[in-house]
């Protein structure tokens, strides 16, 4: 990547026997909002702390703007950060909290006032400057934390689950705002979350982490639609899982036998006839079909979700499959239905070493 701002080269970090980061390599471009997604304990915070310089990696290098900063302490890296629980300084006012990075840089009073004004307007905090953190609402604290991260116009902003403690409404609003700041400032944001909706909403590119390893990095649509590993396929969206035997492999496709049914799906490395395979099909990619259906069953229940609905289909042999579709399909419970999906919408992986 030519305009690469942050580069991690085989970064490894152990805590005792836990591998919190295992040979992680990563590049983030000049103007990206890059999301780091992974379940709890997968090492996201550890990776951010290594980038910030709060923890030193056991192996590997960290480069910011082409400069090797691996051995540089956090206060010499010139980056901004928004912490998981905000971590506002409880004994300082909002203005003092936000101005803290400027104070550390020894900025003059006039410059500080200018920057404060600019950032307060950016994050819409004007009027709250003299309050103390315990006098703020959750959303306001969140903005102060953001303002503090942005005020010194860092070359890179790290955000560690900044919205995790907010309610759903506020979270939706802040998602949009954070995207706006990123576009306005034109600096890379590295956004850590375990909430895939958040990552899919905000990011341009993203990476999925699992037990300290990066499973897949790439465009968010690519990760969603073309998962490269079984973990990513199972983690993103809410897929149906079919575990069966591989009957044949040809042209990058595999034919899977599953409880007497047969269907095709994209084949990933390591599939060969006779092996066990797990196949993931996202529920919204399965459609009802009146003719030529791959599987037949009865509708057991409909779960209304607002913009869509989950239809629980019970196959004749007792297995249950979830189909997400428009909420206004007039299927009644007990009704016989057929379902089908395109071969390219399934992803089959070898069953060994699966989740």
């Amino acid at each position: 990547m030519s305009d690469c701002m942050l580069r991690l080269q085989s970064v490894t970090k152990r805590f005792g026997t836990t591998m919190a980061a295992e040979s992680v390599s990563l590049e983030v471009g000049q103007t990206e909002l890059f999301a780091l997604l992974g379940p709890s304990g997968s090492g996201k915070t550890t990776l951010l702390r290594i980038i910030a310089g709060l923890d030193a990696p056991d192996e590997g290098r960290v480069l910011i703007g082409g400069r090797d900063v691996t051995r540089l302490p956090p206060y010499r890296r010139g980056i901004g950060m928004v912490f998981q629980d905000f971590l506002l300084f409880p004994h300082k006012t909002v203005a003092e909290n936000i101005a803290f990075p400027l104070k550390m840089q020894g900025k003059s009073r006039a410059e500080t006032a200018d920057d404060l004004k600019w950032v307060s307007q950016l994050v819409r905090l004007t009027g709250l400057e003299e309050r103390y953190p315990h006098e703020l609402s959750g959303g306001q604290k969140q903005r102060v934390a953001l303002a503090r991260g942005l005020v010194s116009r860092p070359s890179l902003l790290l955000l560690d689950e900044p919205l995790a403690n907010l309610d759903r409404e506020l979270r939706k609003r802040m998602e949009v705002e954070i995207r706006r700041f990123q576009l306005e400032l034109g600096i890379p944001f590295i956004y850590v979350t375990h909430n895939q909706e958040e990552a899919l909403t905000m990011a341009s590119r993203m990476a999925v982490m699992r037990e300290g390893c990066l499973e897949q990095i790439g465009d968010k649509l690519a990760l969603y639609h073309r998962p490269a590993t079984a973990f990513v396929a199972a983690f993103l969206g809410s897929p149906n899982t079919f575990e069966g035997d591989v009957v044949g492999v040809e042209d990058g496709r595999a034919e899977i036998a599953w409880h007497g049914h047969r269907f095709w799906s994209r084949a990933h490395d390591g599939l060969a006839p006779g092996l066990r395979a797990v196949c993931y099909v996202k529920s919204e990619k399965i459609a009802f079909a009146s003719s030529g259906a791959a599987l037949a069953g009865r509708l057991r229940d409909t779960i209304f979700k607002g913009q869509y609905a989950d239809y629980l289909v019970c196959l004749d042999d007792g297995h249950e499959i979830t189909v997400s579709a428009a909420p206004d399909l007039c299927h009644r419970p007990g009704e016989a239905v057929g379902i089908t999906w395109a071969a390219d919408d399934g992803d089959a992986f070898p069953a060994v070493g699966k989740e």
Binding site: L54, P74, M81, L87, F89, P90, H91, F100, Q105, H134
Partner: protein, 263 residues
Amino acid sequence: MNHRSGFGVQVLLLAALYLFLYGPILYVIYVSFQIDSIWPFPPTLTLEHHTDLWQRRDYHAALWNSVTIGFGTGLIATLFATLAAMAILKYRSPGSGLVAGLFLAPLFIAPILIGISSLMFSRTVLGMPGSIFGATLANSTYATAFALLVVLAQFARYDWRLDDAAMVFGARPWRTFWEITLPITWPAMLGAFIVSFLLAFNNLEISFYNLGATPTLPTLAWGALRHGISAELYALAAIINFAVFALFTVLYLLLRLGTIRID
């Protein structure tokens, strides 16, 4: 035992406890202002015992020695306890349990054992006769345990990731301590100082063996008490109790202040 009577019994017990703890102290303070200290009823007010006490040169020297021991111990214990508490809570390193065990061990060792063992050690191994210095060191081992308890209880509320935040925003370690850690945690440190100062100031069983011929207020009082209780002892007890309560009020305010709202 129903709820209401249980509550009443507990209130009574608490009141009785305070009466038990403070009755003798208040009575001594009362007696110190009375002419007849054996049967001071009806009250006949006098300042005689207090003025007598102030004129006793030996008490002046002893007071000064006690203050010196208290101050030295306060400084040593607070410094070591603060450093250890920070290290234990901030780094959560393996070995924390061992270190905490060592620092708190004096709580489980009788003061007289600390007294005689440090006496034997400094006299025989270090070749030092008893002195204020030796007494201060011996008291510091005991006081460090109490100081650590005070500091740990308060530091447990502090979120050490605030230090991380300050560092990311450009503060060097000392600046971080000065700007963030100290302003939030100083009440705990001062509280630890007050507790260890008072412990050493009033200590008898450790100081006694390590002082040599140097007098302090407790050893002087011990000597006086051997000849039976005397009027100036009442005055001394009254003054010391006043001083302890004054410092305790400060301590209380500090602990209150120390609970910075982190929400």
